[in-house]
């Protein structure tokens, strides 16, 4: 048993952390989000060229650093600490995940483009009616000779405004919520028939409502097996969950540290408010939530590569993370008092991200139900 990081992994963390400390301070981020396009292509370029981190989880043969889920965890935790909006998750973890696991003909090409910072992916899986059920799909893809034709609407596609490619899930057979008949496609965002309505999200990202109207794609657009892509989709979403848990750990650490700092400085009744036992106990409970979350994130990062244990591990981790995001986020604001309510302090921005992570790729209830099913079986 070993929870230590290798020298390479520690170096990766230091590289990302020190770059973000210099280029992604709170005020720099805020200025960048306040103007179009709402993200920084030059930072993305630096991730690719200067830091080389866009290849972190890809094999050395593919041009990557030869890492995997642990490397994603390290990068994502640092991204969480700086509230990075650039699409590492959508591109490297999700886009890269689909390409790696599917054996797609263009995989090595596209992975090369990801590593070079040229291809940017967004994951168009959610639909207005589907909540967190990955198989609840009204979007259809039908065969037309050697082509596929896609029609439908995708909801809240995070990162779509900056993407070059979308991964779109669609129904190729079966009924609206059937596990069978689900397929996935790579859709160039500029393809005819793809329209987007772009908007900011409450936590500083950009997203789109994506409409697909008779979008005609060649046969090679299919990624993974036709009609049977749900297991692939679930695997990639679990990897995204594990990475999101790591991002959350970064956010949670900042919420907790920020609260400790503030309560040590803030004086009321002639003393730092950190002296009050009721606040000390609250901060201890926050600390426990942070530590439990880190533990579950490690567990998920280790087990996500094991198909037998993956789903249960990721569901369990997300339940812990969801609860921690609520408790730590809300109490961080509470202990900052009025200052926690202001836009000018970073703490509120961490709280908003934590709140959105609670429901990312499924709410706490969703993953609790999923865990129940996986662990206890169908209710009698």
């Amino acid at each position: 048993m070993d929870f230590n990081f290798t020298d390479e992994q520690s170096m990766l963390r230091d590289t990302v952390a020190s770059y973000l400390a210099d280029h992604y301070a709170f005020d720099q981020r805020r200025a960048m989000l306040g103007k179009e396009p709402g993200w920084s292509p030059s930072i993305w370029k630096a991730f690719a060229e200067e830091l080389g981190i866009l290849g972190a989880p890809f094999s050395e043969e593919a041009g990557g650093l030869g890492g995997g889920p642990v490397e994603n965890m390290i990068v994502m935790e640092e991204m969480g600490k700086a509230l990075v909006v650039e699409p590492y998750l959508g591109t490297v973890v999700i886009g890269g995940g689909f390409l790696k696991h599917s054996g797609h003909a263009q995989a090595s090409d596209l992975i090369g483009q990801i590593i070079a910072g040229e291809a940017i992916f967004a994951f168009a899986y959610a639909e207005p009616q589907g909540r967190y059920n990955l198989a609840d799909l009204k979007t259809t893809a039908r065969k037309d000779g050697g082509s596929w034709v896609l029609n439908g609407a995708k909801a809240v596609v995070i990162g779509a405004p900056y993407a070059t490619h979308l991964i779109v899930t669609a129904r190729t057979a079966g009924g609206q919520r059937d596990a069978q008949g689900v397929s996935a496609f790579i859709v160039p965002k500029g393809a005819a028939g793809v329209t987007t309505r772009d908007y900011p999200t409450v936590d500083g990202f950009r997203a789109s409502e994506v409409t697909l109207e008779n979008v005609k794609l060649d046969a090679g657009a299919l990624i993974g097996p036709a009609d049977h892509a749900l297991p692939l989709i679930e695997k990639v979403v679990d990897e995204a969950l594990a990475a999101t848990c790591a991002e959350a750990c970064g956010v949670l650490r900042k919420l907790h540290e920020g609260t400790l700092d503030y309560t040590r400085q803030r004086k009321q009744f002639g003393q730092p408010i950190a002296n009050f036992q009721v606040l000390q106990h609250r901060m201890v409970d926050m600390f426990i939530q942070v530590e439990q979350s880190i533990s579950m994130t490690y567990m998920a990062a280790i087990k996500v590569a094991d198909d037998a244990e993956r789903a249960k591990a990721c569901a369990a981790a997300k339940v812990q993370i969801g609860k921690a995001c609520k408790f730590v986020g809300q109490n961080a604001i509470q202990l900052h008092g009025g200052m926690g309510m202001t836009d000018e302090m970073a703490i509120g921005h961490y709280f908003k991200r934590a709140t959105m992570i609670e429901s990312a790729f499924g709410s706490t209830d969703h993953h609790l139900a999923r865990y129940e099913f996986l662990s206890l079986g169908q209710a009698a």
Partner: protein
Amino acid sequence: MNLDFTPEENAFREEVRAFIKGNYPASLRAAQDAGGQLSKENYLAWHKVLAKQGWVAPSWPKELGGTGWTPTQKYIWSEELARADALPVLPFGVSMLAPVLYTFGTDEQKKRFLPGIYNGDVWWCQGYSEPGAGSDLASLKTKAERVTADDGKEYYIVNGQKTWTTLGQYADWGFFLVRTDPDAKPQAGISFLLIDMTSPGVSVRPIITLEGGHEVNDVFLDNVKVPVENRIYEENKGWTCAKALLAHERSGIAGVARSKRGLEKLRSMASTERSDAGGSLLSDAFFRRKVAELEIDLTALEFTELRTLAGESSGKGPGPESSILKIKGTEIQQRIQELALEAVGHYGAPFLRDLGHNAQIGPDYAEGLAGAMFNGRKTSIYGGSNEIQRNIIAKMVLGL
């Protein structure tokens, strides 16, 4: 013990319901439906209608403009306002300052200030908190020095900074706590001053809150000259006024009627939203349990409030027990906001504030839910944080 409304009370309910329906300003309704920031005119439109009807200040003594309603009638009134999604009357003048004025003010002060409050001609704001005086309000440092000016009259020269002044950007006048005796014990050296916000030396700076709104402000006071006759009650006795005001601020804070309405909306939303299994979200076992628990907690709060009201009508003022209402009331409001955000799933994420209500991203009821939830975190902080309320109960109720 009984819970029945009398036929007269039911008739009263019909009357006020019809009045709200027939008289609620259409312009205000449209502005509320559009979402975003309300204008000063929006806020005042409903106030003026109620002033004309004589219903703007039900709790004031009858001779000053109160309605003379029984506690039950006031309860029915607040229920009907909430049911209609009517904007609450702004509390600063009507329910915060006015009770201080009619309890501690001189006849002349009452005559001078109460009509403007009642009619909505004068917008009031509160100058209590300071950057260094929040929970520990008595440590406030804004200084008022008494001087005799060249005109032979006495003035206070006020210097300092107030913060979290809600809607201060619209205010004509403010009520302020200032230190008039720097050598006395903290609570003993404070006075309660009314300050014209157009006085030279008063400046208001917006504070943008985390959901993007402009509700609160910093207020800077730089050598502001305030006539001594603008002081309420005795010099250095302002803390007495402040305490009375805070008790009033707490008693209204339970927000039972508003929370009931919030729960109704939540249920309606959750019956439209789909669960992962495809049924209504309200049929999802986990979600419905949370709604049920919330309803039960709200019922407990409602009956606690009714007991408090019954106590008031038999002559007891709102005591430290009102801290229970503040704690539970705000916790419940926050949980409703959280569940509403949870109910809309992915559509909690879009930030449409700057795009206007025509953006139409996702269902219309989803718009603004995240912002409301973020903004709602203030309720367990303001008016004496919920930690301070627990201190009050420990000390004043339990005698610990």
